[in-house]
Point group: C2
Chain length 371, copies 2
């Protein structure tokens, strides 16, 4: 049996989790307190306020969810969609495809439009789908596709979606606090993210925010919300002034998220976005020198998730294994269409700095000197 | 804004979370590693093996779920029940009532039988319900009702349930490792628990195990499992040798659970049950001296969750507040039928010792000297 204290530390440069700062690990190790303790209510209030700042929203219903990023996706869909509701999903990778699968299990009528992996949608594409197959209650988009590293512009599509009378759902799991994601300015109705990516808190929490229009849709359902665990109308009674017990949240993960959000806001969002961009630029330049290029369309490369062609001349799986075992560096494998072809290099949160970029580039000169 | 490092430590004697040992907090604070890292696969394998020991089962499908105890409940129900399936639930408190609510949202046809709060069911009661309203696909029971402290005997009811051709689901959230809960010997088909009670790991993980008959029911469904996040057939491909990525589990909570399970098995289950029983006996004697009695039926008092009448002569809410603020001791409020009448005193995991009992009794001589 393994001893946890003996685990080898890693340099996390995969698609998440990202490296966690010692401040956050220490906060997480604070002795557990009760979930109905007044002290914990302050922790919750702080988290809500900080999440509103990070999501750039004034939405009252902004909270953390006691599950991972995928729990955030399911929570949004199961609250917003009833069986039979029409949902348009824009698929350009694994996570947007999951929007479809989760919604179908809820019983929604799902229409999908697709672009090739590594590309993003134009407002015109969404417009055509809305006209041909609408009306839709909800339209779903992924901001940064973790499987392809494509950064989807949101604002212009949002205008098209709202002009058609639909609500807009956006996945910001691999973007929030790493690149701009402005919920109110972009008129996003429901938005979820995960703790373990650009916020560099340990995995296990999703964060979500719902616009007044989204809340209206939830409160005017004809059928009960299919999930009790993810029921936002119950959860908001715990997060709100009523403090009605719902479930026992992961107290120590909330401590960690509190500290990670504090650090993000101490840095300031624009500085944080700039840091992610600078790390990405340095990585891209260094990879080019090694002959390693991106699989993502040049016009939509996300700084946070760098999806590159696995280096030529080496076995991609063996190369990743060597990186992990000899250099302690984790990068991600390709998924789906990119399986066996791609490496996914995350520059997220604590990982978005020159130290991480240099560690990887230096290791690559040994492993894949010719690219 | 609160600083996490400034939070006042508490002595946790409510219905959970329970106090967490420093060994477990330290394990949790180990730097995060990736969820596809070979090291983490070893952590998962160890956790599965240790959970099998703690659940006293040889079930292959034994795993942790990335959510709280209530996620464990929902996960069991959403996998085992399809819309229209008949489910018999035995309600004697808040958590058994939740079984009904969660199952109804899934679309199951739920029949409930009830006994007053603080009491448990006899095999004859279940037998009658099975005959009058059956057949049922599934029967649900709560082992220790956290809202009443009632300890439900399982084995004889299990025989009745299986004779009727039903599957048996048991909630062991407030019992597992604190009192015996023998999944195989008692022929429990699906059993879930939570990390933060008698195992004294921080909240945020559920643990569950499924018998071959339960797995057969899941694999022979006519409809897809309603939840993607809780889909056991996807989760077992990650926990099994295929290691197919599903979601990013809360890596650090798994570290904590690994350490907490190690500690439970180092102590040995029979010793651990005896320790819980001894702490309970000491508390009961001390409370009697103060004139404080149990609301639970004398024949079915659980050692882990002591549901007592709020001390006479003091305001129960003010008394709990005083305990927390002046003595740092958390006890739980009454729920539902017991709201305003009960205090729920947990003696679970690290909290099941003389030190905790003495701390509470000593504080009570100040707060409620006459009982």
């Amino acid at each position: 049996m393994i001893k946890i204290a003996d685990l080898k530390p890693r340099t996390l440069m995969g698609p998440g989790p990202s490296d966690v700062h010692p401040r956050v690990l220490r906060a997480m190790a604070q002795p557990t307190i009760g979930h109905m303790d007044g002290q914990f209510m302050q922790v919750l209030d702080d988290i809500r306020d900080m999440l509103k700042a990070v999501f750039q929203t004034s939405n009252d219903l902004t909270l953390a969810i006691s599950g991972t990023g995928m729990a955030g996706m399911e929570a949004c869909l199961v609250n917003l969609l009833e069986p039979g509701d029409a949902f348009l999903v824009c698929i350009n990778g694994v996570f947007s495809a999951r929007l479809k699968e989760v919604a179908e299990r809820i019983g929604a009528r799902v229409t999908a439009i697709r672009v090739p992996w590594g590309q993003v949608f134009t407002p015109a594409m969404v417009q055509v789908a809305l006209e041909q197959h609408g009306p839709f209650k909800l339209v779903g988009l992924v901001h940064v596709e973790t499987s392809t590293g494509a950064l989807q512009p949101i604002k212009d599509i949002s205008a098209v979606v709202h002009a058609a009378g639909s609500l807009l759902l956006v996945d910001t799991v691999a973007s929030l606090s790493g690149v701009e994601a402005a919920v109110d300015d972009w008129q996003i109705d429901a938005c979820y993210s995960g703790s373990q990516k650009c916020l560099s808190s340990p995995p296990g929490l999703a964060m979500a925010t719902f616009s007044p229009a989204a809340v209206h849709a939830i409160t005017h359902r004809n059928t009960p919300i299919g999930s009790w665990y993810f029921d936002m109308m119950l959860l908001r009674k715990y997060w709100g002034s009523e403090r009605v017990y719902h479930h026992t949240p992961p107290v120590n993960l909330y401590f960690a998220l509190h500290e990670a959000l504090s650090m993000a806001l101490e840095e300031g969002l624009p500085s944080r976005w700039a840091r992610h961009q600078a790390a990405h630029a340095a990585l891209k330049t260094g990879l080019a020198r090694l002959g390693i290029g991106y699989l993502t369309d040049p016009g939509c490369i996300a700084p946070t998730l760098n999806c590159v062609a696995a280096p030529a001349g080496i076995d991609e799986a063996a190369g990743r294994k060597q990186l992990l075992n000899e250099f302690g560096i984790e990068v991600g494998a390709g998924l789906g269409d990119f399986k066996g072809k791609a490496w996914r290099i995350g520059l997220m949160g604590e990982g978005a700095d020159q130290r991480h970029v240099d560690a990887l580039l230096s290791a690559l000169t040994v492993i894949a000197p010719k690219g």
